[in-house]
């Protein structure tokens, strides 16, 4: 079987994050398999989280603590990064600070070249997706194998992850069995156990043969320079111990100061992500192989990526987005995400966190900034966030940024100027609403507006609109006052 690096069904999708959003939405909404699969799994994860929160107790206090740790770390990120880097180096590791994706890719290629690497075994890493590493490896003729089961499935399908922690959430068992059948030439029934067993056997060889093991990093511990990896499949442990070279790619904000802090964020992460108390494997790796160790890589390289992150530091509204611990709880509660799935966002990071993070990291309000409209601002994301990131507020502030940069349409800008004028003065408001009564008349059928021109058609495509009655509340106020006065008088008379 030959597996090539999968880099999504549409290589250029990032360029049309905003312009293609509505079209991708329509496409996703027509895909019943996708909607069922996403709804099923997000519901399961959400309910798991709620139960885990309950069982744990004092959830709000844990959230506050988690938020405080992340806030403190990011407010002193220069200090903790330097402490972390010193400790990684002190343990014999190599640290690279990379300002952008190109820089990080180049750094990785440098390491790969030195080792004449032909095969890279990958643990799950969203940062490697962010820098499109698989794509670059493929161009170089280096084979990259995803060893996380979900990522492996997507690699076979040549797709990108559609969820932060369940990358193949949009695939059902039958689709996975078909992919395995096509890839292996043997027939597979849609049975989880059989499919997982096949992948396990297949992947085991790659762990042993790989020249480089690549992983992400859930949390770096500054006080020791340790890399923490959580996984439920154990592949992270294999990838980080069997190959001779271990390369970590991580976002620069992925730090906690101490092990004491790590305890808090790991508790929040596992419970918020899957409802587990603890993931099946939690690996804390400090340095490369020590003389007394039985296994482990001979070399450890840690690539620390900025790629738009440091631009958020010190921002009164957006710095908090760096507090994210990538648990995906916001995806699992988001009603938009549930209906349209992750690929609709057209970006590596999807769901509410993706809608906020993508325009900020890419510093692109024109296309990526459009993702801020993919939310009804219901606030479920904030409510679920284990570190209390006010994503719903950030979405509104991103829309404001778009307006300030004059990236919204002329008619829309004119409409809200008119809104300001009319609703800013009761005289104009009354005048406008009275005219509204007459203007609506051609559209009214049986007391309702059932169809109308754009933008009203957006509403009427799925629902009716009540017509505006002739009398508003304020028109009725005098009569209501008289009614109440009479009632009061009658009451007093009774006394």
């Amino acid at each position: 079987m030959s597996v090539q690096a999968g880099h999504g069904q549409d290589t250029n999708m990032d360029e049309r994050i905003g312009s293609g959003l509505k079209q991708r939405t329509k496409q996703a909404l027509q895909d019943e398999f996708l909607r069922k699969a996403v709804a099923f799994t997000t519901d399961k994860l959400k309910n798991g989280r709620l139960q885990a929160m309950d069982a744990f107790g004092d959830w709000e206090a844990w959230r506050d603590r988690g938020r405080a740790i992340r806030e403190h770390t990011n407010s002193h990120l220069d200090y903790y990064l330097s402490q972390f880097a010193d400790n990684v180096a002190g343990n014999g590791g190599h640290v690279y600070f990379c300002s952008g994706a190109d820089d990080a890719v180049k750094t990785f290629m440098g390491i790969a070249d030195r080792h004449k690497a032909k095969l890279v075994a990958k643990g799950k890493s969203m940062v490697s997706e962010e820098i499109h590493l698989n794509h670059h490896l493929e161009d170089r003729g280096i084979e990259a194998i995803e060893t996380d089961l979900g990522e492996y499935i997507l690699q076979l399908a040549r797709e990108t992850p559609s969820h932060l922690i369940i990358p193949a959430i949009h695939k059902n068992k039958q689709q996975i069995a078909d992919l395995f059948t096509d890839a292996s030439g043997q027939h597979f029934e849609p049975e989880t156990k059989v499919l997982a067993e096949y992948a396990r056997k297949k992947l085991r060889n790659y762990f042993l043969e790989a020249d480089i093991g690549l992983t992400g990093c859930n949390f770096g511990v500054a006080e020791s320079g340790s890399i923490t990896l959580v996984s439920n499949e154990g592949n992270g442990r294999m990838v980080s111990t069997l190959p001779k070279v271990h390369v970590v790619v991580m976002g620069m904000e992925r730090l906690v100061p101490t092990f004491e802090d790590l305890e808090v964020v790991l508790n929040l992460l596992a419970r918020s992500a899957t409802g587990q108390k603890l993931t099946t494997y939690t690996s804390i790796l400090t340095g490369a192989r020590h003389p007394e160790d039985l296994d482990g890589p001979e070399e450890l390289h840690v690539i620390i990526l900025d790629n738009g992150r440091s631009a958020q530091l010190g921002d009164p509204i957006f710095q908090e987005v760096l507090n994210c611990i990538r648990c995906a709880a916001c995806l699992n509660v988001c009603p938009v995400y549930r209906h349209v799935g992750g690929h609709t966002y057209g970006s590596v990071y999807s769901g509410p966190i993706g809608a906020v993070l993508t325009p900020l990291l890419q510093q692109d309000m024109k296309e990526a900034g459009t993702l801020s409209y993919a939310s009804s601002l219901c606030g479920a994301c904030y409510e679920a966030c284990p570190v209390k990131i006010p994503l719903h507020d950030m979405l509104v502030h991103l829309r404001h940024r778009k307006v300030k940069m004059k990236l919204t349409s002329l008619p829309e800008r004119a409409a809200f100027k008119t809104f300001q004028t009319v609703f800013g003065s009761v005289t104009l408001y009354k005048l406008a609403t009275k005219s509204g009564y007459y203007l609506q008349k051609p559209l009214v059928r049986g007391g309702m507006i059932k169809a109308g021109p754009a933008p009203l058609s957006g509403w009427t495509q799925s629902r009716f609109m009540p017509m505006m009655p002739k009398q508003s509340f304020r028109d009725k106020w005098a009569a209501l006052q008289a009614e109440l006065a009479a009632k009061k008088a009658a009451r007093e008379e009774q006394r």
Binding site: H339, E412, F416, Q420, P466
Partner: protein, 243 residues
């Protein structure tokens, strides 16, 4: 107790009967209700679309309208949430207006919140012998923290046959301009909500926000579903007078 009604533009223009129910109930509980004529809208449509400057001027008008009120009560958790959650931010660079905004926040309540928290009433002596389900609105719950109050009021209604709405805390897909700007996403959400409402077999859907109710009701109407959609104040008033 002097109470000013903030009717909200939506209820002023489309759902005047909601305002009437609120006023009658408050008045029955001894409130001296007035209606400051200068009020229009809280500015949320502009704010949520990113037009903060435009929203600020509309907000200024609302702050002025209620400057002399003791209490302000509104039949909307969303509009009240807008004032509570975003008004102080909107006037961050204008200390004088920020103070005024905070003063409004301090005296402004959503209808069920005012009944339970300020008037201390939960049992309005209403009877409503119908099968009823309740949609909690996102902004009441999450911006304003009003979760228990509507349920407390409903649980005291006599002969009510209350059924829990499945996935009740999921947004109905209204989201103001979201409903037209992202019409397809909004449609998927409101369709799911309507399916859940119908699955309860309820004759009546009750809520605390006419935005959500206009959305869900509009869907139910289009589907021809015979579910009556009411604001909590309407249900309580009807239940009191029919007794």
């Amino acid at each position: 107790m002097r109470v000013s009604l903030f009717i909200t533009c939506l209820s002023d223009l489309l759902y005047s009967e909601v305002g009437e129910s609120v006023v009658r109930i408050l008045s029955d509980y001894g409130c001296d209700v007035d209606f400051p004529e200068a009020q229009t809208c809280c500015g949320q449509p502009a704010f949520n679309s990113g037009y903060q400057d435009e929203a600020r001027e509309v907000a200024r008008n609302l702050i002025r309208a209620f400057e002399h009120s003791d209490y302000v009560v509104s039949p909307s958790g969303s509009c009240t949430g807008m004032v509570h959650h975003y008004y102080p931010y909107l006037f961050e660079n204008e200390p004088e207006w920020k103070a005024k905004a905070e003063a409004l926040v301090g005296k402004m309540y959503e209808f069920s919140q005012f009944l339970v928290q300020v008037l201390g009433v939960t049992d309005l002596g209403a009877s409503f012998p119908h099968k009823v389900t309740y949609h909690p609105s996102c902004h009441a719950m999450r911006l304003l923290g009003v979760k228990e109050e509507p349920m407390k009021l409903l649980s005291c209604v006599d002969s009510i046959d209350f059924v829990e709405l499945p996935k009740k805390e999921d947004c109905c897909g209204f989201g103001g301009t979201f409903s037209v700007k992202m019409a397809d996403m909004s449609e998927a959400m409101v369709c799911e909500k309507a399916v859940n409402v119908c699955s309860t077999g309820a004759e009546v859907l009750v809520g605390t926000d006419m935005g959500c109710l206009m959305n869900i009701g509009g869907r139910l109407n289009k589907e021809g579903q015979p579910v009556r959609v009411m604001h909590l104040a309407q249900l309580l008033e009807e239940g009191r007078t029919s007794r």
